[in-house]
């Protein structure tokens, strides 16, 4: 059994929670939360932490870079691998807000989409 301490991010109280995981990394229990949202967050965060990634990438034909995001959260451990994938994107203007600039990044099932239009 392992223990992990984390801070809940759901509200400013920021409860410090202690999560117990099995040796295989499965969620067993949590203490320290003061609401159910905290327990749910703790479970997710300690077993399969996910993050939204937002970034800027260059676009040829445009001085302003393109702001992009993952359409939904991706595994936290893949953040830098995904950033490396973004480096390989070759885009030219125009780009429309919401346009998929890289589908299914690294087989996550998550698209990278534009969050602004250029020009």
């Amino acid at each position: 059994m392992m223990e992990q301490t984390i801070t809940c991010i759901n509200c400013p109280v920021g409860c410090r929670m202690t999560v117990t995981l099995s040796d295989q990394g499965e969620f067993v229990s949590v203490t320290g939360n003061t609401c159910p949202r905290g327990a749910k967050y703790a479970q997710q965060e300690c077993t399969l932490p996910e993050r939204m990634i937002t970034a800027v990438i260059p676009v040829s034909g445009c001085e302003t870079p393109l702001s992009v995001k993952t359409a939904s959260p991706v595994p936290k451990k893949m953040i830098f691998a995904i950033m490396d994938e973004l480096a390989g994107i070759r885009l030219s203007a125009p780009v429309a807000i919401g346009q998929v600039v890289l589908p299914d990044v690294l087989n996550t099932g998550v698209d990278i989409i534009a969050t602004r239009s250029l020009p």
């Binding site: 800027v56 990438i57 260059p58 870079p65 950033m83 490396d84 973004l86 480096a87």
Partner: protein, 489 residues
């Protein structure tokens, strides 16, 4: 490369620029070398901006002579060149009997030096003039002819005038050695080209004594005396309308509180002797020292509206006076060194004198025609609505406000880069236009100014600097970072 010129001036501070401008009226080739990447990067850009009346300098010294003469020239020179100048007057405060005695000495000194209007006022009269003074003040010396000016703008204007009349300015050029050749000419080795000249003019600021000692048997010793400052935000009404001094000491005029010609408030300077003349850092102890001393003048002292701190290093000679004239034992070399306070005030008079000496020495004829320096346009900040409308009609880039704190337009920033001795860095634009000198200290306008510099000069944006050399604003494009071209470890 080996280059030659008739006259070579080392240093483009206020003194070097003043001499250059006067020499540009004669038929001779003139070159100014400076180790900085722009004009006036030494103490000229980092002082109190005061044109002193001349009561403080000891009678009979060069300081006294040139201060009074220079101060008398300032108003018309500033008007001619379009440099901000205001005769706001000054007070020297007395807090006890010893101070009162000092005031009387200063008044007498001033009289001997030819300063007019000096008067000792009683406490009531002083507090009436400046109600925000420390009420413990006992009396004050009133100095109606004391004035404030923008010191670096004066240097830029003098330099532009000189450049329009043939003077060449070379930057990033540090003089490493000078020697007198058999034919009476001088050879200068620099970090770049080697120069030969008939007349050498030493206006080398912090390196003035070093250069002098390479050529003269008489050795001079220089002390590098740093002065730190607080600069408070502009305000419709500042706590003081005059420059307020305390009694001077052996280290100098002491900590003052003064409005600046642009409407800011200055507190400082300190006076600390340091080893490295290029060490213009500010220090916690120096800044604390200013607050302690300025608090004596300003009872309600507050630095809540401080927008920046800066410092400059004075070139102080242990002989305690300017050295101006022909270099001892080295004919053909002329010098203006040890130009600490009242150097700014004295510069126009020094320039005139030295140029005259050099012209005599070389038997130079005055040019028949001088290119007049164009009257600079009124800053957009100061224009009336009608003037603004007209300016935009003639040049639409006047309608694009780049620095919102100081209301500086794109047109003025381009002009600053295109001037005869134009800006090539963000600070160069800043000092010529005030863009970046306001409340947000360039937070808003820096990216815009950098982009305009890049467009006008062809310097790629990632190579644009804050003030020359390696002071790059940026590291690289996001593209090169994403590609992993940057190993930051």
């Amino acid at each position: 490369m080996n280059l030659t010129t008739d006259i070579l001036i080392i240093g483009s501070g206020i003194t070097g620029c003043a001499v250059a401008r006067e020499l540009s009226r004669y038929n001779a080739s003139v070159v100014v070398l400076d180790r900085g990447s722009d004009l006036a990067e030494g103490p000229t850009k980092a002082n109190s901006g005061i044109v002193h009346a001349g009561y403080d300098a000891v009678p009979g010294t060069k300081k006294a002579l040139y201060n009074v003469r220079g101060a008398a020239m300032y108003e018309s020179l500033a008007n001619e060149l379009g440099v901000p100048y205001r005769r706001c007057g000054a007070l020297v405060l007395a807090f006890d009997e010893a101070d009162v005695k000092t005031l009387e000495e200063l008044k007498e000194r001033g009289g001997t030096n030819g300063v007019s209007g000096l008067e000792i006022l009683d406490r009531e009269a002083v507090l009436k003039l400046e109600p925000n003074l420390n009420p413990e003040v006992v009396s004050a010396l009133s100095v109606p002819t004391s004035a404030i000016v923008s010191p670096y703008e004066m240097a830029f204007a003098l330099a532009d005038d000189a450049a329009l009349n043939g003077v060449q300015f070379r930057f990033d050029t540090e003089v490493l050695s000078v020697s007198k050749d058999e034919d009476g000419c001088f050879t200068l080795r620099t970090n770049g080209d080697t120069w030969r000249c008939r007349v050498l003019v030493n206006c080398a600021g912090a390196s003035g004594a070093e250069i002098h000692n390479m050529l003269s048997g008489q050795k001079l010793t220089m002390v590098h005396r740093r002065g730190q400052y607080y600069l408070l935000d502009r305000a419709a009404v500042q706590p003081f309308s005059r420059t307020v001094f305390q009694c001077p000491s052996v280290m100098g005029k002491g900590v003052l509180v003064s409005p600046t010609v642009h409407g800011n408030l200055l507190l400082g300077p300190t006076a600390e002797d340091i080893d490295d003349p290029l060490d213009t850092a500010t220090t916690a102890s120096g800044l604390a020292d200013i607050l302690a001393k300025a608090g004596r003048t300003w009872a309600g002292l507050s630095t809540r509206t401080n927008i920046t701190n800066f410092s400059g290093v004075r070139a102080h000679l242990t002989t305690d006076d300017f050295v101006v004239g022909s270099c001892e034992g080295c004919p053909g070399c002329f010098e203006a060194i040890g130009i600490e306070s009242p150097g700014l005030s004295s510069a126009p008079a020094i320039g005139l004198d030295l140029a005259g000496m050099i012209a005599d020495h070389l038997g130079l004829a005055r040019k028949e025609k001088t290119v007049p320096c164009p009257v600079p346009p009124v800053p957009f900040h100061d224009m009336t609505p009608e003037q603004r409308e007209q300016a935009i009609e003639q040049d639409p880039s006047y309608g694009n406000i780049v620095c919102r704190c100081e209301v500086v337009t794109e047109a003025e920033i381009r002009r600053a880069i295109r001037r005869p001795v134009g800006a090539r860095s963000v600070d160069g634009v800043k000092r010529r236009t005030r863009a970046g000198m306001g409340r947000c200290q360039g937070g808003f306008c820096c990216p815009r100014v950098a982009a305009i510099i890049s467009e006008e000069t062809g310097i790629p944006l990632k190579e644009v600097t804050k003030n020359g050399g390696e002071s790059f604003l940026l590291s690289d494009t996001i593209e090169s970072y994403l590609k992993g071209e940057h190993d930051h470890e």
